[in-house]
Symmetry: D2
Subunit: 351 residues, 4 copies
C-alpha cells in the first residue's frame, strides 16, 4: 500500500472512541483525518476536548485534529463508529446511504440479516453479504458490525468446536470487567467487594450473537447456527478482560484431549493470517489448572489474542472450558480495526 487510507472516527471522545484513536494513530494502512464528537467538543482540538482515560497522552497527530459534528459529508469514506446505541441506530444507516463504509462497535444492526457480524478469525466469508446489503437497502456504502465484547470473549473456541464436532448447546457464565460498561459506567460503591450478577441486555446478546457468528453464508444469506445458548453475565471487580466459563454439548462426541489438541493446532483462516493487527498466535491454550486469568492473560497478543484453558470433561454435558479476551481491545475497537483490515484484503475497502 503506497498511500494510507484516510479514515474517520465517530464519537471519538468516549471510551471506545479513545481506543480507536490509540489503535489507529500509527496504523500501517489507515490514517485518521477526521474526528467527530459531542456538541461540547465540536470545534475544539481533540486533545483539548477529550477526557483521556487511557495511559499516557492522546497521540499528538490526532490531538490536533478539530472535532467535527457527527453527520454525513465528513470527507472520508471509511468510518469507525463508537457511537452510543441510540445515535448509532439513527445515524449509521444515514452514513451508509451517503456512501460511507461504517465499521461499528454498536449493537443495533448486529442481528440485521444483511449486516455482517464479523470477526475475521471466526467468519471471514460473511463479508459476502455486503453487496446484498447495499442492494437491499439501496445504500452506496455499507455497515459491518463487530460482536458484543462478552460474545467475543467466548465465540472463537465455540466456533472451532462447532466446525469440528457440531455444537448442540452451550451454558455460559461470564465474569466481566468494569471497563465493558464505559465511563463513568459502574459506580465504585456497586462493585467494590462485590459481584453484580446483571448486565443490561448482555445475556440475550451472548445467547443470540454466536448463532449468527457461527452461522453459514451461502448465496446472499446468513443461515444462523442451530445450537442453543444459555448465558448468565456478571460484573466483577476487574479492570479489563472478560472471562467465560463454558459447558458445551457436542453433536459428535470428543474427549478433552481431542479438544486440547484441536485448540493447540488451530490456525486462523488463510484470508486473515497476514492482516497487520493479527496477533500470532490468535488462540493461546494454557495448560495450567488456574488459567486463563484476566490480569495475567488479557494483554496476550497486544490484547487481541484469546486465551483458553481448563478444558475438561463435563459430567453433565460433554466438554467445559474457560475462554478469555480483552473486552475493550479484542472485544471492541481492535475488533473493528481487524474487520477493516480484512475488508481491505478482500477488496471491500479500496484506497
Amino acid at each position: 500500500m503506497n498511500k494510507k487510507i484516510p479514515v474517520g472516527i465517530l464519537a471519538a471522545t468516549g471510551t471506545v472512541g479513545q481506543r480507536f484513536v490509540q489503535l489507529l494513530a500509527d496504523h500501517p494502512w489507515f490514517e485518521v483525518t477526521v474526528i467527530t464528537g459531542s456538541e461540547r467538543t465540536v470545534g475544539r482540538p481533540y486533545g483539548e476536548g477529550v477526557n483521556w482515560k487511557l495511559l499516557g497522552e492522546p497521540p499528538p497527530k490526532i490531538a490536533n485534529l478539530i472535532v467535527q459534528p457527527t453527520a454525513p459529508g465528513l470527507g472520508v469514506q471509511v468510518l469507525f463508529s463508537a457511537l452510543p446505541t441510540p445515535e448509532a441506530k439513527e445515524l449509521e444507516p444515514a452514513f451508509a446511504k451517503a456512501g460511507h463504509i461504517v465499521l461499528t462497535n454498536a449493537s443495533p444492526y448486529r442481528m440485521d440479516p444483511y449486516v455482517p457480524l464479523l470477526i475475521p478469525e471466526v467468519n471471514p466469508d460473511h463479508t459476502g453479504i455486503i453487496p446484498h446489503q447495499r442492494e437491499t437497502y439501496g445504500w452506496e456504502g455499507y455497515i459491518v458490525a463487530n460482536a458484543n465484547c462478552s460474545t467475543t470473549s467466548v465465540v472463537l473456541p465455540m466456533q472451532i468446536l462447532h466446525q469440528a464436532y457440531g455444537l448442540e448447546t452451550a451454558v455460559i457464565v461470564t465474569m466481566q470487567a468494569i471497563s465493558g460498561a464505559g465511563y463513568p459506567g459502574v459506580a465504585s460503591m456497586d462493585i467494590l467487594d462485590n459481584v453484580i450478577p446483571y448486565i443490561g441486555g448482555e445475556d440475550s446478546k451472548v445467547e443470540s450473537e454466536p448463532r449468527k457468528l457461527c452461522g453459514t453464508y451461502t448465496s446472499g444469506k446468513i443461515q444462523l447456527a442451530d445450537f442453543v445458548v444459555s448465558a448468565q453475565t456478571n460484573r466483577v471487580p476487574v479492570f479489563d478482560g472478560h472471562l467465560g466459563s463454558v459447558s458445551v454439548r457436542l453433536k459428535q462426541s470428543a474427549s478433552s484431549e481431542d479438544v486440547i489438541a484441536l485448540f493447540q493446532q488451530w490456525q486462523p483462516p488463510a484470508v486473515c493470517r497476514d492482516l497487520p493487527s493479527m496477533p500470532e498466535p490468535v488462540l493461546i491454550y494454557r495448560p495450567e489448572q488456574d488459567r486463563p486469568q484476566p490480569r495475567l492473560d488479557r494483554d496476550a497478543g497486544n490484547g487481541l489474542a484469546w486465551t483458553v484453558g481448563k478444558v475438561r470433561p463435563c459430567p453433565v454435558n460433554n466438554i467445559r472450558f474457560l475462554s478469555l479476551a480483552h473486552n475493550t481491545l479484542r472485544g471492541a475497537a481492535s475488533g473493528s480495526v481487524l474487520n477493516a483490515e480484512l475488508l481491505v484484503n478482500e477488496g471491500f475497502i479500496t484506497s
Copy 2:
C-alpha cells in the same frame, strides 16, 4: 434448658475457629469452657495467642481461657472442630472414639457413609445414621460434618427443587469470596483486579456433596441422590459471600413462576424451626434482576440466610437461578452451631 452445655473448640485460633469463638460466646445453650490451639499458643490465654481477624476484640470470657493442646481428654463432650484437613483426618476419629461429639467443619469424613453431612434445613433426618456410625466404628462418641462452603451456598434451593420436581442435572459456576481460603490464604497480588478460576478440590466437592445432602436416609443408610452436577469454582475479589450461578434440568417440568412461588412459600422442616440460631426467613427470594449480590445479601439473617434470585427459564436446561450464602458463617462455623442445636433438639446431645 437450665444450665448451658459446656463445649470446646478445636483449633480456635484460625479463621473458622475465631468464628466459632464469636458465635458461641453468648450462645443461649452452649458455653465454651475449653479452647485448643497450635503449639505456639498452648498455655497462653486465648486472647494473647490469637491473631484476631474479626471486627472488634475476642470476647473477654473466652479471651481468658488458657489454650490447651488438641488431644482427647479435654473435659467436655461436645467439640466444635476447626481443624485443618490433615489434623482433622487423624484426630477427629480419635476424639469420637474417646466419647466426644465432634461437629466438624473439615472435609475428610464428609462423604463417609456413616457420617451425617448435615444442614438442618436440608436433611435433618440424616442424624438417623448416628447410632449406626457409633456401632459400625465402635465409637462412644460420633462425628457430624457440615458441608463445604461452596456446596452450602447452592444446596438449599437445589434440595427444594429436588424434593418438588426431581433434580436431574445441575451446571454450577461459583464466584467465591477470599475469606473461604482462610488466612493468609489468597495473596493480594493474585486476586486484586483479577479472577482465579481454580480452587483446589472445590469443583469435586460441589459435584459430590449435594448428592449426599439431598440423599435419602432409610434404615441405617444414606442413599445418594441420583442427579449429576458439573461445577466450576472461581475466586473473585470479594471479602465474604459465595455466589453460585445454577442451571438445572428437572425430572418434572416447572415454570420459573412455579419455582419463584416455591421459593417464596418454602418453610424449613418443623424440627429445625425453633433452633436458637435459625434465621427467619431462612430463604430469601429477591425479585430484582441484579440480586443476590455478595456485599448486599451476605449478612441477611445474621449471615445465616440464603438469598436466591434471577429465577428464569434456561434455554438449554429448564430453570436457572442464583444462590448466595455467607461462606464463613452459614458455610462454616454457624453451620456447625446449627447442627449442634439440631442434635440437642433431637436428643443426640444432652446436658
Copy 3:
C-alpha cells in the same frame, strides 16, 4: 421523655438521607413523620421511590411514608437535612426563618459565624451561639451544622491535644472512602487499583473547619482557634472509613507517652455522656503498630467512635498519630443525630 419528638428528613432518598432513615427508625427520642425527596419521588411511598443502598430493606414504618416536596411548612419543627450543597444553601435559611430547627450535613453554613459547627464531644458549648443566630438573622428557628466527614475523622484527637498542650500546626494527609462521595459518586474505572489524590473542596474544609470546631465560644462569639492546618486529601479503594495521618506541632511540648495516656484517659464532656447514641468509649486508642485500619475499626461503637493509633514522636514536628472515623455514620448522619440529642439535653429542642 414520654412522647417522641416528631422529626422530618430532607432529601431522604440520597446516600446520607438513607442513613438518617436507618438511624432514626428506632430512635428512642425522635420519630420520623415527614420525608422529603426529589420531584421524581414526591407523592410515592418512600419505600418505592428510594434506590436503597444500605444493607437490608428500608424500615417499614418509614417505607410507607409518602414523600413530600422539600419546602417549609412540613408540619414538624425538627428537620435533618441531607440536601445537596446548592439546595441547602438556598433552602435551609428559608426553613430556619419559617421556624424550623435544621440539623444539616451540608457545607454552606458551616463557617457562618452564627451557625454552630457542632460535634458534641468536641465543642458542646458552641450551642451558645444559637440565640445570637436567631436574633442576628431574624429567624424563628435556627441551623446547626455538622462537620465535613474528613474533618470529623481527625478533629477529636486534635481538640484533645489543643486543649491539653495548645496546637500550633497540623500537617494532615487523609485516605478516604468512596462512600464519602455519595452515589453513584466515584466511578469504578477511576478508583480500582488506584488512588485519586484529589477531592473537590476537601483540602480547604479540613484546613478551616477544625479552627472553628476547636475555637472558643464566649459571649455571642466563636473565636477561631489560632493553629494552622495543611491538608492533602486522597480517595482510596475503601468502602467506608476515613483515615487521617496527622503530624502536629504543640505549643507546650509533650512526649508520645504523655499523648497516649491523654488519649486513654480522655472522657467526653459531661453534658454529652448520656446521649442515647453516644458510644462508650468515644475514643479508642489501639496500641498495635498497624492500627487503625478502615475495615477493622470503622464500625467501632456502631460507627460512632474514633480510633487513634501510631502515636509517635515526629522528627519534624512534635507528635504524629493516625485517626479514623466512619465517614457516613460518625462523619455524616449520626453526627447530626448526636447534635440533635445534645440540643434536646440542653433545651434547644423541646417536645
Copy 4:
C-alpha cells in the same frame, strides 16, 4: 560496545529477580549468562523452576539457563542481586571480596558509608566512593545499592528542591502498592477494602535514605544532607506504583510557580543522559489537580519516570507536592540496571 557484558542474577526466581530477568533479556549492553535460585530450583532450567508472576512467559533465552546455587565463583563479574535481606547481608560482601561487582536491591549495605546508595539522576558522583570501598574493605569487587522503593518514589523531586533551595524538613506520607511486599506478600484479607498504615522498617528507611542520596561526595566521603524527614508509610489496594504526599520547608523560600518551573525545566545530570534505559523525560510534571495517580502514571517512561504534581503552597511549611514512581521497576530492578549502565559509562564496569 562490540560485545555484550556477561552478567548474573542472584535469586532470580523471586519478584524482583523476575523483573531483572525481564529487563535484562534484551538489554543492549548486558547478557544474562548466569542465574541463581533457591535450593528447590537449583539444577533445573529457570523456566521450569520459576513461578512466573509477570505478564507473558519467561524470556526463552533465560528460561533455558540452568539455575545455579548462590555462591561466589559464578564465572561472571557483574551480578544483579535480588537476594532477601538476611542472605544479602551474608553473601554480598563475600561476592565483593571474590571480585564480583554486586548491584543490589537489598537494604543491608545501603547506609554503609563506603557503599554508594545510587540513583543516576540523583547522585551520580557518589560512585567516587567505590575505590575507597574496595580499599577500606580489601575487596577486589564492590557493592552498589539502589534505594528502597518508597524512598525512590519521592527522592528525585526532593533532591531537585534541595539543590535549588536547600531542604530543611520534609513530612512524607506514602500510599504504597502491594507488589512492594513481594509474593505472596500482603494477604488479600488484609488489604481488600482496607488500608494498612504500617510497612515494617519502611518509615525509617524513608527518613534516612534521602539524607544519603542527597548528600555530598567529596574526597572519599559521603556527607549526609542535613535535612530532617518524617515518614509515615501506608499500604493501599493498588497493584503497582508508590505515591508520596510531601510537605517541605526550604532554606531559601520559593513560590509554587518557581517550583513548577524548576520541575518543568529540570534535566538529569549530563553523565546519565545517554544511558540506554534512561527515559525521556525522567521527570514529568502534570498540571491536573488530580494527578499523579498510580494506575495512570506508574508506567510513564516504561515505568522509569517520576511523575510529580499538585505543587502548592503549604500553609504550615513552604511547598507541598505529590511524587510517584513505579516501585518494582524504577524502585527496584530497573534502578539497579540503570546503576549498572552508569557504572559502564564511568568505567567502573568494563567488558
